[in-house]
Every structure is written in structure tokens, then in C-alpha cells.
Subunit: 327 residues, 2 copies
């Protein structure tokens, strides 16, 4: 049995707890929280809940700790710190800062003989894997990543900060014509606007100037200005009824040529369609916790990413079983 | 530079030669053949061609040898034999015999300090990887593999053995309704007949009994009896004009549940659309030759499969480059 800990009991932490139930070789032992432990009621029987400050007391009780904090402020601090005591898995997803995060975590993990896997989930994560495989096995080509249809928390939050907005949900939607062009093998050059649209569902305060809100959203730099954005004003009741889920997904598509004269077209496509983004991310984290436990057993130390892990390490099945039934 | 050898210069061997052109860090040094070397005219400048019996003379000249023989009789003999002298990659694809082939190759490779990667390509190969990842990150679900639309050489050959048939091409076609059912997340139970149909294009000898030929094809056990099969009689000219290519591809789809109460549906899909089956297979083999060269450098020995290789090992890019640009 692999003994697991969770740090942080939000959407992701609860998702990890649920994912453990699908993995009979993994056992949840403890949840660390910044809240009052008394307020946390895990679903799993017999799981301890303790303050995150007491984590060091559990050094010998768990094989892998999954860090379920946010990438903005939690993980840059937590992952290096916890990698001094535990084998860890995090879902750090600020793409531009991955190299720096890697170096900081690697130093601590190496010094302390631990394995730390960072930037796990689906993007970065399964999509990164799809990109590297496709790029490697079909070097003569182009790779495209599309996201959605799905909820972007960051964009939803940005809308909520507009004056007069009570609540909001933003969907990122891939443009069908762009998907079709990529799948045709034409290797199109696509602008940001051509790849995705943004659909916003907004609850405005009574008497708020909706025209001004719509304009502010559509012109918001980085978030919306480069996209075709639609803004739909709806009631809080409708938002709660129809837009409470956190679905997501997307497509990694590579098209490329083979043959001595580039005479053959090929398209590789990997896609995800997820009812719940955090529930799937958690499920990925748990399978990588298994891989991390194995690497640690083999004497490996330092920081790794999903690109460094053989597929077989994720599976509860043995090598011989996999060769027989899945190869 | 990784120095590569090819054994066997058929469709696959020529495909490997072409694939090397897309990989600037890999250099083709020698082609081994059972034919008269004088009859082989490689496209690549400066490549030696020699009899396969002389292969041992090249032990120190190449880092990896890609074996491009057939799975029926060539590879079961060749892979263990060559693994005594070279790091090797093969595309052994008789699924049921993989465990035995693995053991035989492993013994020889271990004894001689070589790395041997077997059963590489797209199925077994990229599809196996897709199955293992999907099964591991989404344990609560079912995985389905569909092949096609594409040419099955084995089925085409089987038709050619029917009396009165001069030439034939067989396409395996996934059933759209089955694909739709799987993508819907309903985890349907599908019979062989429900998953694929078989389309045959047949050139009959003049005066041959077409009704008898069609009946014999449709009732052929293992090959056609379990499928809805259509037989189209066409001229040799039409076959040559429209059915000379060797396209293939397919889909690995997993649908499964996440959430503490299995309340969320998820669909993972990996698909390939290939103008030329051997050209793509070759391209995969070459990227795994890079991985094998690296494993050998690290001191690894014995038999491995694609399931044992981290994605990053396939790429010409460094770990830091991959983390920066592709993670």
C-alpha cells in the first residue's frame, strides 16, 4: 500500500480524496490544512486531519504528499519546503515560471533524498506528454493546443472584479473552423483570435450599467481584448442552475509529414472531455503519486516532471501484466 | 550524433531511412540485407549496404540497429540474435507472443549488456502508451481501441489466397455508431461485429465465379466471418489507381468516472490518421532509437518496451528545453 497525504482541502484536495477510492493500492492517511482541523470532515474513514504546521510529525507515516495549493502563492513556497520532508507531487501550472520552480524544488529534494514531481495534471501534464510524444515521433510538423469548451477560473475571477458584477462564469471555446483546418493537415498559422472564443455569463447588480460592464470585459487586456468575446447577462438563479460545474478539456493536435519526399500526411490527436476539471486533475495527481513512490524506492532523488516518468510507472499493474494485456 | 543501422530494406526499412532525414541528430550508417547488396540503392549518400551475415563486423560502428523484418518469422529469430551484438529496436506486433518474445530478447540483451526495445510502432506502440496512461489516470472506466480506416495487409493477403483472385485490398473501418456510443460515456459492450466493418476491393480472374469468391471471403473464419464485410469487384487498373496506398490509423478511447460518488464523466481520446502506415511506424522507431541510445549510455541493459521509456527520452530537445517550451 502507498500511504498518501494531502495538503490543502479545497476542490483539488477533495478531488484527490475521491480519486484514492478508485486506486485500491493507495491509502489516504492524513490531510493537512490551514483551517481549524475540526472544521474538516473527510469522507474517508480513519483519515487524520491536522494543521499544516504539524506536517513534520508525519514524516514517517506517509510515502507521498500531494500538494493541493494554488500556483500563484502557495506552491512556490510550499513545494520546496515540503520536499525537504516528503516525496511530493504538485500541480504548479504557471507555465512561464516552471523552470525556476523546478530549480528551487530540485535543490531541496536532492539535498534531502526526496522525489518531487511538479506541474502534474492535464495542462501542464497529460497535454505536455501528448505534445512531446507527437513532436518526437512526427518531427516534420506543427503542434496545436486548443482548450475547452471549459470554465476558466482566472477569467471568471477577472470578470467578477468589474464594478457592478455580482457573479460570473467564463467559458473558453475552441473555434471549430480552426480545429478543422488543423486536422486537415494544412498547418495553418492561427492568431489568438482565430483559435478560441470567450463566452461570459454575467450576473449584474441591480441598476448597473450593463453596456459599460460589457465594454469593460471585452476590452480587458490579456484576458479578453485579443478574443471574440460574447457577454450574456443572466440571473444568479440561472447561473447557479446552469453554470455551477467546472467542466474543461481540449485538444492537442499535431499534423506532419513523413516519407522521403514528405509525400505522406499524418495527424495525431489527443483530447480530453472532462465534467470536472479538478476531479480529473486530482485523478492524474494520484496516479503520479504511485510513480513517485516507485522512483523513491529505486533511490531516485530530485525534481522530475511527467516527461521524466515512464508510462508503466503510473499503473498499478506489473510490467509483465501490462505487456500481456495492454501492450 | 546517434549512428543508426537498418536491417531489412522493405517498406519499413525505406521508411526508417526517410524518417532519419527529419532527425538531424541521427545518422544512417549501414543497411543490412538478405538480398544482393548491389541491388539496393539507398537514397542517403554515403550509406553502406552489406549482407546481413556480415553485421557483426559493424559492432562498433553503430549505436542502434533497427530491425525491419516481419513478426511472423524474421523477428522471433533476429531480435534475440542481434541483441547479442547491438542495441536494437523492433516492431514485433504479434500481441499474443509478446511476453515470450520479451523473455527471449531480454536474456540475450542482458547477457551482452545491450538495450533491446521490442514491439515499437503505433499498435503495439503509441496506442499501448495511450491505453496505459488512460487506464492509469482514469481508473474508473473502460478503454476501447478502434482501427482504421486503413489497409490490413494480413486481410488483403488472405483474400489473395482465394481461388480466382488476382489482387485485393482490404480496409478495416470503425463503425461510427460504436465510436459515438463510446464517446458518449455510456461504456457500451460491443461485439466484434459492432466495432468494425471490412471493405474488400477484389480483382477477379477473367471468368472466375464472383459469387463463389464473395461467399468464400465473407465466410472465412477469423478474418471475415465475425464482421459485416462488403466485397467490391474492380479492375486491376482501378485497384492500382485508387487503392495502392497503405493508409491506416485508429482511436483509443477511454471513458470513465471521477468524483466521490462517480458523478463526473470523462472521455480521453487518442487518435492517429496516417497516409502511410509503414512511414509513420518507421518514424516512431527512429525516435525510440534515440531513447535506446540514451538508455545504453546510462548503463541500462535488457529488454524494454515503449511503456518503460519516459516521454523526454524520445525528444532531441534537452530536459530544460522541454520544460521551458513544451511542458
Amino acid at each position: 500500500m502507498i500511504r498518501l497525504g494531502i495538503s490543502g482541502y479545497g476542490n483539488l484536495g477533495r478531488g484527490v480524496e475521491a480519486a484514492v477510492m478508485h486506486n485500491p493500492d493507495i491509502e489516504l492517511k492524513v490531510i493537512f490544512t490551514r483551517r481549524d482541523p475540526e472544521t474538516i470532515k473527510p469522507i474517508t474513514k480513519g483519515v487524520k486531519v491536522d494543521r499544516v504546521e504539524n506536517a513534520s510529525e508525519y514524516k514517517d507515516d506517509i510515502d507521498v504528499l500531494i500538494l493541493c495549493g494554488g500556483s500563484a502563492t502557495d506552491l512556490p513556497r510550499q513545494t520546496p519546503e515540503f520536499a525537504t520532508m516528503f516525496n511530493v507531487v504538485d500541480s504548479f501550472d504557471t507555465h512561464a515560471n516552471i523552470p525556476q520552480h523546478f530549480d528551487e524544488v530540485n535543490k531541496k529534494a536532492e539535498e534531502n533524498g526526496k522525489v518531487a514531481l511538479i506541474s502534474c495534471g492535464w495542462d501542464p501534464g497529460m497535454f505536455s506528454i501528448a505534445r512531446v510524444y507527437a513532436d518526437s515521433v512526427l518531427p516534420g510538423g506543427e503542434t496545436y493546443t486548443f482548450w475547452g469548451k471549459g470554465v476558466s477560473q482566472g477569467h471568471s475571477d477577472a470578470i467578477r472584479r468589474v464594478e457592478g458584477v455580482l457573479d460570473a462564469r467564463q467559458y473558453t471555446v475552441p473555434v471549430q473552423a480552426a480545429l478543422d483546418a488543423v486536422r486537415s493537415g494544412s498547418n495553418p498559422v492561427l492568431t489568438t483570435r482565430q483559435k478560441h472564443t470567450r463566452e461570459c455569463y454575467v450576473v449584474a447588480a441591480e441598476g448597473a450599467d450593463k453596456a459599460r460592464i460589457e465594454k469593460e470585459i471585452k476590452e480587458m487586456p490579456n484576458y479578453f481584448a485579443d478574443y471574440d468575446t460574447t457577454v450574456n447577462f443572466i440571473s444568479q438563479e440561472e447561473l447557479d442552475a446552469k453554470h455551477k460545474g467546472i467542466p474543461h478539456g481540449g485538444f492537442v493536435i499535431r499534423s506532419g509529414k513523413t516519407g522521403a519526399e514528405n509525400e505522406f500526411d499524418n495527424v495525431i490527436e489527443y483530447s480530453l472531455k472532462l465534467d470536472s476539471n479538478p476531479a480529473f486533475t486530482s485523478s492524474v495527481l494520484v496516479s503520479y503519486a504511485r510513480a513517485v513512490a516507485r522512483l523513491h524506492k529505486e533511490g531516485r532523488k530530485g525534481c522530475v516532471t511527467v516527461l521524466d516518468i515512464p508510462p508503466a510507472y503510473l499503473s498499478a499493474k506489473s510490467g509483465a501484466e501490462l505487456r500481456k494485456s495492454m501492450l
